[in-house]
Amino acid sequence: MQILSGRFWLIIGIVFGLLLFGMATLQGGVIILTIPFLIYLAVAIIFAPPEMQFKADRQIDAPVVAQNSPVQVRISIKHEGPGADELYIMDEPPPQLEPIQGQTMQLRPLQSGEAFEYDYTVRCARGRYFFSGITITLGEHFGLLQRRIPLPIAGEIRSVPEVPRLRKIFISPQQTRGFSGPIPSRQGGSGMIFWGVREYNMGDYLRRINWKVSSRHLQDLFTNEYEQERIADVGLILDAREKTNISVDALSLFEYSVLATASLAEYFLADGHRVSLLAYGYSLERVFPGYGKVHKKRIYHALAQMETGTNYALENFNFLPTRLFPARCQLVMISPLQPRDYPAIVRLITAGYDVMLISPDPVEFEAKSFDVSPELQQAIRLARVERSVLLHKLARLGVRVVNWQVDQPFEQTIYTALGRRPLFRRNLRAVSR
């Protein structure tokens, strides 16, 4: 349908105003002043925009991209009707997308049956973004008469966290799964690492017979046993509570937590483990346990959409639903942590879970944004002490704690902290031998 713009009504108003004024004052000169406006209006009506017959398409060069990568969006338009003076195309990308090249809108003349395309490049932070559609407006040169049509050409960009590659993390949960993998399972069988010696059974490989031990016995033979290496269940718990994830100058600590989670998920899945994810914030968002590349994508897509939120029922980890994770599996909590979470972690350990805590340091993160004053120095020192006591208490419980200063690379911090088998586990091994 033809739209009469505000400019059209202004001209109409002037024409009628002059006519009425001229009639009322009986002045022909005033009526003559309407002539240029009437001719202007007539020219606009003669060249009124035709019916719209558009076909449009949107192409996104990479619907799934790493965080802060440029994405090119291409809009193709095909017009199957007569030409028009002015064509105005307006694409409205989500406001979080930062345009870095090209324009989202176009103004150009339109030829009969013309087809053309244009593109623009945007940069997107982590998230999932939906394009609703474009609005096409046809008009004549004077902008008095228009035709407008919204074309719902949808599109979607998923910007997943950029993942640093991790080298080696030693985990040793109390329970492993039945398939072979890289984790020592604390059970004798076939494997690489020596576990012990047992009496020979029918069917054992002859090359595994321990001749030294057997020579000390007259009738019996003994075979070497190796520690079975299996895969494990790994549960990633991402803390998405708003009050623990501090934001400084539009940069949130949560972004670091998400990066760490994605990185750990990538590592554990590459190692063959079964990985699940639970985000604990406004609600409990979950990715069910799974293996492989498809599951990695599933976790990335879930992480792309994660946001912090406040839910008073989930203020601390006391309501963490442990039944979502297999018994005695490896739990990796990614959380800045607060003192009230301590009892919940104790509860996890007593339930038999092997807990690892990756904690982006909120004190140092926030302290860097302040101007230094003596009072503030004191406050920061107290906060550091409180946090270090909390982390120390957890470490004494057997939690493997990584205190991550977020200005340091994550992979380096992880390699330093978790790149070796934990000391108490090594001692345990020595005792068992």
Binding site: I3, L4, I12, V30, I32, I39, V43, Q106
Partner: protein, 168 residues
């Protein structure tokens, strides 16, 4: 190009009105119009974007007022035409400013100017011809024409209301 023409049109409209009012010894009005012209020409762009139509209305009212006061008709018609050109080009420049300059926008600008010059030249010529024609209308015709105007205006307002319902 269109930006320069826009400012020139405003200056032309203001000058024509100043000349007309000066010829009628109405110097107070002439100074006021000159100030308005200067304000539109060199004032901040945001002011023109917000009140683009105001200059058109003010200058048209000034031209109509000049006609009633018996001022020279030629500069008044020129002022009305120039203020229309200013208003049109101002709107066009605003539309152009939303996009980056390209070959497409340059060709659009050329064809816009061509059509605007054609329409306004025609309007000016017809108006000047009309100034030399004198038709005496009886009271009946005047009332009839007045009624036609009022009815048309009413239809126009109804159409506007209908459109606002469809495209709020």
């Amino acid at each position: 190009m269109s930006t320069r023409l826009c400012t020139s049109s405003l200056v032309l409209a203001a000058c024509a009105l100043v000349i007309a009012y000066g010829a009628g010894n109405l110097w107070g009005w002439a100074v006021l119009i000159a100030v308005l012209g200067i304000l539109g020409g060199i004032g901040p762009r945001s002011l023109r974007i917000k009140f683009g139509g105001v200059w058109l209305i003010v200058f048209v009212i000034a031209a109509a007022n000049g006609m009633i006061n018996g001022l020279p008709a030629l500069p008044l018609v020129v002022a009305a035409v120039a203020s229309l050109a200013y208003w049109d080009l101002d709107g066009f420049n605003q539309r152009l400013s939303r996009v980056d300059p390209s070959d497409a926008t340059r060709s659009l600008e050329k064809s816009h100017l061509r059509r605007l010059i054609l329409a306004l030249s025609l309007g000016l010529v017809v108006s000047l011809m009309a100034l030399s024609i004198r038709i005496d209308l009886s009271m009946t015709w005047a009332i009839l024409l007045g009624m036609v105007i009022v009815i048309s205006l009413r239809l126009g307002i109804r159409a506007l209301q209908h459109q606002k319902k469809l495209y709020p």
